[in-house]
Amino acid sequence: MNPAPASEPRPAGPLVLGIESSCDETGVGIVRGTTLLSNTVSSSMDEHVRFGGVIPEIASRAHLDAFVPTLQESLHTAGVTLEDIDAIAVTSGPGLAGALMVGVCAAKALALASGKPLYAINHLVAHVGVGLLDMSENRLPENRLPENLGALLVSGGHTEILRIRSITDDVELLGSTIDDAAGEAYDKVARLLGLGYPGGPAIDKMARTGNPKAIRFPRGLSQPKYMGTAEEPGPHRYDWSFSGLKTAVARCVEQFEARGEEVPVADIAAAFQEAVVDIITSKAVLACRENGITELLLGGGVAANSRLRELTGQRCRSAGIMLHVPPLQLCTDNGAMVAALGAQLVMAGIAPSGVAFAPDSSLPVTTVSV
């Protein structure tokens, strides 16, 4: 390809349609290069409320019924037709197997019907790809990923710190949760405290009126035997664990009840949130410092949490790390992030995936596209 002469405007980039169905959001987004044209999301969250967590079968049923209407609306909003599209991208993992299946089958059918190339992409890397869209003041510079980029992803389904050398083919997992995702821990604790579902916003709100120092909850995997040193890292230096924290909260509530005392819900919420946010941000910043990461992108639904944003911002500033937070509707699961990563793959000349791949619920983050 010949570079365009300097006087001509930059080429607009490929028109890519992205499909997301890895958890409880059915998303279809459309981008042109790094420009967002539409981002339509249909969530089955309301149907999971009475269960206190995402029920995979209910999410899968909702995806089946939501897909075509979501696609239709996304095309309408973007003002494009299927014929206009240059490529289709779909989340092929990681995620809930039955939920992924719906999006993958729909994406393949769309590729067959339209004759467009199909990219099967990694959901986690797509959370990073969204940072490339020209949306916020906080966007990554000149739509190019910086040299030393990391990503901290925190949601109901995942808690990971990544290092991104190339968004199209070189992503490394530095650390992740070894049990519950942070968002899951929020849901479980919110249930313990009778605060409802989803737990993130409920606890965040309650925590504002409580004293985070009233109780000290454990920080998982923070002991020296797990941490080791920078020179000789322990087995879980950058990993998290939230199941012990959840148990500690349960025991704390029980103790108040056993003593016949009123449970100090606001203090417990604040102390729990502090424990989660403290261990997430301290390990993330440690991973950045020790891996030469100077710019960090925050993604996933828990990026909406006020305390997480605040403490991440504060600790990144002291460590000289530049923090990027995409607009919230792009942090939660959506189709635009899939399209954004798809556009990067097209522009990098990566070969499409064809229509014979299988969804992979545990797709490793090192596999950016299948």
């Binding site: 079968e57 089946l64 719906v102 089958c105 059918a109 009840e257 229509v355 014979a356």
Partner: protein
């Protein structure tokens, strides 16, 4: 009339059905296994179309099996059918998947006037339906579809892979003990129903079972 039929209620299958073709079937494919729908279905349809030299524009109607069948597999076909119908701007209809086997029974020699069709519902259960048959007519659904234990089926001859698995407790027909719903038979049934002036139902899946989710009870207090 050219129909693209799809069924993934057990195996993954698709067929091109036309009233111009012999026996109505232009071409078809079906997998043997019941767990690779997402991989094989669209490549299979692609080959069907290419082999028959037709494109989406040539298709008049898409028909999908709506189950009953194991949920994830069943949804693969319906999601594919719905998306193709949208992208090609073609009408979409659904048919109960057990009808496919019922039609094959009706066309076999010595078919009884009343029989059951059963497929594997996993968890030691079968999906089943009761059909009646009058000479020269299409099989008629008399009861079902249901999901339940093979041992609790009405005492009638049972056709289909659901009978084959539980041949020790049901009157399984030997020739049909491995039969799975196929898009070819489903499409033929659809064509016959349309020719007889019937309307076909929409593509709403027949799950027959709720999701396994339990609403958590109230937490036990420590006191």
């Amino acid at each position: 009339m050219l129909i693209l039929a799809i069924d993934t209620s057990a195996v993954a299958s698709a067929a091109l059905i036309s009233d111009d073709a012999m026996e109505g079937v232009v071409d078809s494919f079906a997998t043997e296994d019941t767990r690779s729908h997402a991989e094989v279905l669209v490549p299979g349809i692609e080959q069907l179309l290419a082999g028959a030299g037709v494109s989406g524009a040539d298709i008049d109607l898409i028909v999908t099996g709506v189950g009953p069948g194991p949920f994830t597999g069943l949804r693969s076909g319906i999601a594919t059918a719905r998306t193709l119908a949208f992208a090609w701007n073609k009408p979409l209809r659904g048919l109960m998947s057990l009808d496919a086997i019922a039609l094959e029974v009706a066309e076999s020699t010595g078919a009884p006037a009343e029989f059951l069709v059963a497929t594997d519902a996993r968890r030691k259960e079968v999906y089943w339906a009761r059909y009646t048959l009058r000479d020269g007519q299409l099989p008629e659904l008399a009861d079902g579809p249901h999901v339940g234990f093979a041992s609790e089926l009405p005492e009638l001859p049972v056709y289909g892979a659901g009978a084959g698995i539980y041949a020790d407790v049901v009157k399984a027909d030997e020739d049909f003990k491995d039969s799975q719903p196929s898009a070819a038979s489903l499409g033929q049934f659809a064509l016959a129903l349309l020719a007889a002036g019937h309307e076909l139902p929409d593509s709403t899946p027949l799950y027959l079972r709720e999701s396994d989710a339990q609403v958590p009870g109230p937490r036990k207090r420590a006191l």
